[in-house]
């Protein structure tokens, strides 16, 4: 009986070792360890054994059972690991294939520029005031110190609808509207972005419709030096920390004194290149101290209040920032153009 058990052990262990899958392992478990298996049979036949032999054989039978069980368990673990390995191998994919594209688009570059400027001025305490695109001659011109026969009206030939109503030629009329609404009490701190229209034939540098952002700050003791300070912040924020600005005297009917602001060229840092036409400076915007007539017409006492105003073209800023060479791109809406401003 002892030999029987030994050979059973050898036979079982050999079979377990050579089992190739979990199914045959399970079959071996049933075969050797099941209720009808040979070990059970041996144990059952123990009654025939002598009193002395009984514990010896019993212990041996248990040893054999444990050995087989343990072998099966090891083998099972091994086979399971093999199975997972096989599964992983089978499930492997080419991780270099492109991912499923997620759709996302972006702002029009003009909106991007306008938003950037809006956020900058909001941070400086300005609000955003929007007004009508179709304006009264009064707000578009007269309230800005451009009476009917003013020679400067030459500079902005306009789209009239009636003699008194036209498409605004700048966003300044809204400054007059906002000042009126303040009823002579400051501070007024606004920027006015929006579409404007002029009688220009569309070409690489002209567009009959374009964007403008104007700013206005009216309060007691506002100075030209404050304008210079605010514009310096603006220039550094938009075009880089190293930018310097310079103010040149100019002429606008609604400001006195009037200035143009140049920034040091961000392309060549002032040494002269094609972007700055070899001057080292790039013209960015027009500005000035609000003309006393304008303050007065909008209900502010010029003896008490002063203010500054500035106006700039988002197209020009976008063209400079991104190196765009034709203003018509903004209005063609070619998606191959629009897509380039994902990060804008």
């Amino acid at each position: 009986m002892k030999e029987q058990l030994e050979s059973l052990r050898n036979e079982a262990l050999e079979q377990v070792n050579s089992a190739e899958d979990l199914k045959s392992l399970q079959d071996l478990r049933v075969k050797y360890l099941g209720k009808k298996g040979p070990i059970t049979e041996v144990l059952r036949g123990m009654g025939k054994l002598s009193k002395e032999e009984r514990p010896v054989i019993g212990q041996l039978a248990n040893e054999v059972r444990e050995a087989i069980e343990s072998a099966i368990k090891d083998k099972q673990e091994h086979l399971e690991l093999e199975k997972i390995k096989a599964q992983l191998a089978e499930e492997s994919i080419d991780v270099t294939l492109p991912g499923r594209p997620v759709q996302s688009a972006n702002h029009h570059p003009l909106t991007a520029v306008i938003e950037e400027i809006e956020d900058l001025f909001i941070g400086l305490g300005f609000s955003i005031a929007e007004g009508p695109e179709v304006e009264n001659d009064y707000y578009n011109f007269e309230a800005l110190n451009l009476p009917k026969d003013h020679p400067a009206r030459d500079m902005q030939d306009s789209f009239y609808i009636t003699e008194e109503i036209l498409l605004r030629t700048h966003t300044s009329p809204n400054q007059a509207r906002v000042m009126e609404a303040h009823k002579g009490k400051g501070p007024v701190k606004i920027i006015c972005p929006g579409k404007v229209y002029r009688r220009d034939t569309d070409d690489a540098t002209h567009s009959h419709q374009f964007m403008q952002i104007e700013g206005l700050y009216v309060d007691k003791n506002v100075r030209l030096s404050d304008l210079k300070g605010i514009l310096t912040v603006f220039a550094k924020e938009m075009f880089g920390e190293d930018r310097q600005i310079r103010l040149r005297p100019s002429y606008f009917p609604f400001t006195e004194p009037s200035v143009e602001m140049d920034i040091s060229c961000f392309h060549c840092s002032g040494s002269g290149c094609s972007v700055c036409k070899k001057t080292g400076w790039i013209e960015i915007l027009g500005a000035g101290m609000v003309h006393p007539h304008v303050l007065e017409m909008s209900g502010f006492d010029p003896k008490v209040y002063t203010g500054f105003a500035f106006g700039m073209g988002p197209e020009r800023i976008a063209m400079l920032k991104y190196g765009i060479n034709d203003i018509r791109h903004f209005y063609n809406n070619d998606v191959r153009f629009l897509k380039q401003f994902k990060r804008a």
Binding site: A105, T111, I161, D219, K228, D334
Partner: protein
Amino acid sequence: MLVSYNWLKDYVDLSGVSPEELADKITKAGIEVEHVHKLGEGIKDVVVGYVKSCSQHPNADKLNVCQVDLGSEEAQIVCGAPNVAAGQKVAVAKVGAVLPGNFKIKKAKLRGEVSEGMICSLEELGIDGKLVPKEYQNGIYVFGDDAVVGEDALPYLNLDDYVLELDILPNSAHCLNMIGVAYEVAAILNRSVNLPDPAVEEDQTLAEQKIKVSVEAADAAPYYGARVIENIRIEPSPRWMQNRLIAAGIRPINNIVDITNYVLLEYGQPLHAFDYDHLGSKQILVRYAQDNEQMTTLDDEERTLQSSDLVITNGKQPVALAGVMGGADSEIADETQTVLLEAAVFDALSVRRTSSRLQLRTDASQRYEKGIDRNRVVPAANRAAALMQSIAGAKVLKGIVEQGEREVAPHTIDMPWTKINDVLGTTLEADEIASLLQRLNFNANIAGEMLHVEVPPRRPDVTIPEDIVEEAGRIYGYDHVPATLPEGESTRGKLTSYQKKRRMVQRYFEGIGLYQAVTYSLTTKEKAQQLTIQAQSEDQLVELSMPMSEERSTLRMSIVPELLDVVRYHMNRQIPNLKLYEIGKVFTAKQKPLTDLPLETEHAAGALTGLENIQSWEGRQQPVDFYSVKGILEGLFEKLGVLDNVKFTPAERDLLHPGRTADISLNGSAIGYLGQLHPSVQKEKDLNDTYVFEINLQALLEENVPETTYRDLPRYPSVTRDIALVVDESVQAGDLHDIIREAGGSLLIDIKLFDVYQGEHLEEGKKSLAFSLQYLDPNKTLTDKEVNKVHENILNACQERAGAVLRN
């Protein structure tokens, strides 16, 4: 304004200041110098030559063979100019010379004759053909006797000069003349101005014996003066004057006309020379024209006048359009012997009206329009008379026959001198301020707190204290103004709620792949009325009174038509997949003709075509359809918290597919539409299936939406039951949805349509809609019994109101 650097030296010492430096300084002080033109640029080795002999070329009718003395050498030159002759001094480009356009002169043989150089015309020397005097237009230039043979020819022609091109804005009209520029430059350089001192030697005969002057329209002609000049010899003006006129962009004509132009450039005072013998009378009467009165101007145009035009007459007929242009009848001609020289002040507005109405912009009208210096009228007349005397050998009769005041007093401005520092943010001392203004030749005095400034009449643009601030500031230099930050009360900058929501809408559309477009507001009359949200009548169109083209004549009432143009642009470029949106205003007239501003409403619109997804290597292709666009809009409405108040209803609209269009309403009022373009429109425009939407964004964003409030998370499980209903094809899913919603009561918390089926196993004309219904009681666990009750209610309601049958 073209300013000759050499000419300017007559009035201001420019030593040590190069033309480029000068241009930079002028620009920084406020008048932009757009270009510095170097005259004679690219010319090398052109000298004065003397034509010793000139004979016909043996083999060419139109050519001459000249022997030319070049000083150190002699050259044979073949010349084709008709005016070449022996005894002339001419400009010769020697062998090895270079002419503008990098044209190199080489020794050549012309029809067998050696030619060692070229005798030059002015055009060949780079002078614009339009400026070349008539006598040299068809040939070579001929020097006077003073030219020295062998010397560099360029200085004789002022081709060693620089011309500064000034951009004159309305406030810098005082620099539309050389003296004005001289004052400006003197102020910038802190140097003095030397003015010409015209000394006229008058004849004994009194001018008033020859002419009578009267002004009827004193408002428009505050001063009119006339001089009479006799014994005129009309001939070309001297070279120095021709050179200066050419540099200033004016073509020399003859000595008399040139002198008036020269003085105009020098003093900014327009002068007019009439041929006295052709005036037709011995009087000048300045009056307004009669309506429909005719006259022929110098340019030989017949002009029909209006009663607002100021004219100079001979008592009967007009002989000049005041301040704009003279008449043809009294034009200076070769035979002219006696000249009536007009020096007058005309009202800027009057001149501007006439010149712009007749579209006749002249050097004179341009100056009158911008305002002239009254105190220079008489000096200018005297300067011209003196020049006529010295150049044309004329006799100037005694006195100026005039009407009106010759001179006006300086304008005075009194202000606290500290205002300059207050406005500029500077810390200038009183005497510094005074000296800045004195550099401009303004008389400036400080008395205590006050600054007293006398502004000369040459600066009509300086009228108020702020102008003084600017003048002091720009001469001081804005570079020296510090950069400060405002010291006033601080304010909170923020977006309005509308602006915030609009930004959110932009980001929403972009986040799901719609690119933002910006199109034009002006469109055709036809497109303006297409695809509007609400039906519009033609009376509501906002049309330009003078459009530049039909294409841009009318303000849009909808955005979609513009986006469709963008879609077509892409189709033409083989870009079939496109998703765009735009936010912008549309315009509706409240009445016609417009008396109030039109209504402006902000809309959001979109156009989508091609694939909904971006195609990848997996090959999945999902085309854009009605439901993709509807889903986008529903998502937007949900984001804005109005989805429950929005309704989509089937609609028929022009240009859209009648079975694939829905109107959108918010709380019962129309706010937009979406749909597919009508197949025939797609075909006509050569588009693929294209879906569009337009929404009244303003109405949408201005809708009052309750603030977000938190609801407790459910503590009890919800129960989900599916229900498949068979209904007639004509029953709309939306209707069934509404019935379920209503019948479901408060326990029904969500309805999802998850399947729509039509076909096999269903009766013809029927369809099956399967909904997944979710029930929840926030206060307890629902029992089957309770759910069954509601579920049955729903089934009954669907049966009764939509003829629905439960599908097996």
